[in-house]
Symmetry: C3
Subunit: 341 residues, 3 copies
């Protein structure tokens, strides 16, 4: 619970029309209740100013009040969205995370090291020779196979599978259903048309501050490591094949697939459902749109889109061209008519 003045101070904001009030949380403008605070950042939400039931609202210094509301306290700030995020975080901090201690219904193998204040949920299974760093929480029904290392302050949600020998850094969050360290897809074709499995003897290394969504697959390397560097953020249902390398602070949206041995640079952004073939290199600061197929390396920063990745401008040109084909046909017909006369 926070007083309005405390909130204003936290946000370096200015109060208009103070009502003595305790704020218990943040809410969406359409549904917030009278003890909650809400905000307007996007102009399309301005219409709700008249009707919101919130007890207080964060608006920008420039926001023009067309309606007078005596029942609504106002805090003016420079950037309502950032202020709102700050406040959201403040209220979250206050919430006690109930997950503590080691369940009596979990299993830890031989020779494991558990840091201080580790939480292991029900039916967690940890193999031999594993290390779990302090404050890390592993939720129920997750499995860590032998020789796995997980750093400090990590959260591993229910039903996660981490195969043997993988290494997870500090402050890493892994959502449910995600699989780390499964075998890469490697087979050698035999003369009789059958395939022989190529042993996948490497591992997966995930550096600090990475977040991985639900139901992702990150395969172990054939030799060496599949590596996800510091600060990378992966959405849900992403497929990362063996020996892929993703450099720092790259963000990847849901359902993207990255084939074997491909390297992705720093600070890239990849849109949902895009696919990258194997053995290519994407340089730093590349933005790839949604549902884009990337068939070859990209060595210039910029925006790439289309069924086959092309620089944005080229894709747009192609699309306009396609739209014009029918008109072009008409023009050619016209010319043919004229000439035949």
């Amino acid at each position: 619970m926070m007083k309005l003045e405390e909130i204003a101070e936290l946000l370096s904001g200015r109060i208009e029309g103070l009502i003595e009030k305790e704020i218990t949380g943040v809410g969406k403008i359409e549904t917030a209740g009278s003890s909650e605070i809400t905000f307007i950042s996007n102009p399309q939400y301005e219409k709700y100013f008249k009707t919101t039931n919130a007890g207080a609202i964060i608006i920008s210094n420039e926001f023009e009040l067309k309606t007078k509301r005596n029942d609504l306290s106002i805090i003016r700030v420079e950037d309502p969205y950032l202020s709102f995020l700050k406040l959201l975080e403040k209220f979250e901090e206050g919430k006690v995370n109930e997950q503590n201690g080691i369940s009596e219904y979990c299993f830890t193998g031989e020779n494991c090291e558990l840091g201080e204040n580790v939480y292991l949920g029900n039916y967690v299974s940890i193999g031999n020779n594993c290390t779990v760093g302090m404050n890390t929480k592993i939720y129920s029904n997750s499995t860590l196979e032998s020789n796995t290392i997980v750093g400090n302050n990590c959260i591993i949600y229910p039903n996660v599978s981490i195969y043997k020998n993988c290494i997870i850094g500090n402050n890493v969050i892994i959502h449910s259903g995600t699989v780390i360290g499964s075998d890469g897809f490697g087979f050698a074709k035999q003369e009789d048309g059958t395939y022989k499995k190529i042993p996948q003897t490497g591992n997966v290394v995930i550096e600090d501050n990475v977040e991985i969504g639900s139901n992702c697959s990150i395969d172990r390397a054939t030799l060496g490591e599949t590596k996800i560097c510091r600060g990378v953020k992966l959405d849900n249902q992403i497929q990362i094949a063996h020996n892929v390398f993703i450099d720092e602070n790259t963000v990847i949206a849901a359902q993207v697939g990255i084939a074997g041995s491909t390297k992705i640079g720093k600070r890239c952004m990849i849109g949902g459902q895009s696919g990258l073939v194997g053995h290519i290199t994407i340089c730093d600061d590349v933005i790839i749109g949604a549902s884009v197929g990337v068939p070859k390396s990209i060595d210039k920063p910029g925006i790439y889109t289309g069924y086959r990745a092309r620089p944005l401008k080229e894709t747009l040109r192609l699309e306009v061209g396609m739209q014009n084909i029918r008109k072009l046909e008409d023009r050619v017909k016209e010319l043919e008519k004229k000439l035949s006369k």
Copy 2:
């Protein structure tokens, strides 16, 4: 087991060539045995009439017998496919579902309410303050985090993860590997190029009569709720981002991705592998094909297809245009020749 007369009565059908027979189940026409009943609905299966080993067959009133079969009882009905479904259901009803009772190897937290006749499988983990309605079955190795509510007559298959505070209605089926309530993909970019997590404090609400396939991901809202309304059917491996809203009786095929805050109307149908960007609205009764990218809102019912969603007619026109480019080039060449003379 049913007698042929009972089946005919159930289906309001007419028996031809009755053989006194007990029917034990339904089968595909290619593989049904002599105590099973099969059906012909699609003309491409008519050829099997001569050879099927089934003991009885459901055909339409109009179906013309070209072969005489003394060993095959016939039931004529108006719609063989619907009759077959009715019968399939009838035989399923008779099967006893063996899943009953509370396993001694499951965990229920403090302050939970379990309705009558609940089944909890082995290694199910249920957090504090959860409610599970009557007749609901939760299979082995599934996890419900704290403050989750699940209604009556639900089936939650093995290895499902439901995060805290989520609400599931009645008659909901959730298949294995599905994750409900994982964090939305929300990060604020910092000046140093790293990303800061935006707390995802909302939940997921799933209304009555929804079915969700295996390995789906449905993220919790940043604020408020991600909502799947009554009667929605989701196939496997579908990604639903934070704050998405899917209205009643919409069906979505496998591997579709829906980005954050998008709203989908009632009775829509979305084909496999399609992707919808965030913050758009699809009106009621829209049909989207397979592998379609939807980059903006759709406000007219109808069929939309193509790499970028366009009304079906437009997509077809574009495709024909593309096919004709080479011919057009030839025509232009011809014109150029003529003119140069």
Copy 3:
């Protein structure tokens, strides 16, 4: 550990510059240590010959030494990549797999048969009337529902779900998060716009020597079986709908979706993220590229690519055509100008 001479003998290779050395494993050329052996197959790795810290290297008979390395033993062979795979396998063989025995924290239902030397991990749940063949390993938190049969020498990794009545052959590997036997997506539309579930009463049959990646979904048949034949290899996150049939030795890359009742022939290869509609047939020896939509049956072997599957040549022709539209417009403009004079 192997002596260099033993390795040379195994590979039918020729030693140059023998240093008495015990080799402890294989490594990538960039990172191998002095007791490891590495290889050069791809010319783009030749540059590392000068700098590798490996103790020995496998190169082809033709490989030309531009640098002299006194500290690096050389084994010359015909095909360095195949030799390397052979060696990789040899070293893997030597590793003891620690997973043995039946955990005290797993559950086996009534009337199950477990073969000799079966491993069941922690919190594995096996229903009634199941059979698990000899040497098969089922890792922690996996579930087999009732009446499931798993053959000999299989590996089922953590958090796999296999529904009732499914049949798994010998030497099958199933990676974490995969779901086998979930209900097919079958609903009959009612007059009021709601959907009624069609019972999915069939099962899934997986033959010998199949490998299935992580987080795949293979639905049970409505009637009869969904079947994956001998030697098929499936990558991660693949969706296989009810009643699909995949014939022997076909390989499918990650994130492919195959809709209901589609049949795929022998020795096909399907690239990542491709999608096949339902009720079609793909003949033997078809290669489908990545991100290809296949809207109808294919009855000729060959390579198919593009947003809508077309023979490779046709797709290339279309693409060149599209690229030329703008030029074509210019040529038409030119003609129009000339004619208007």
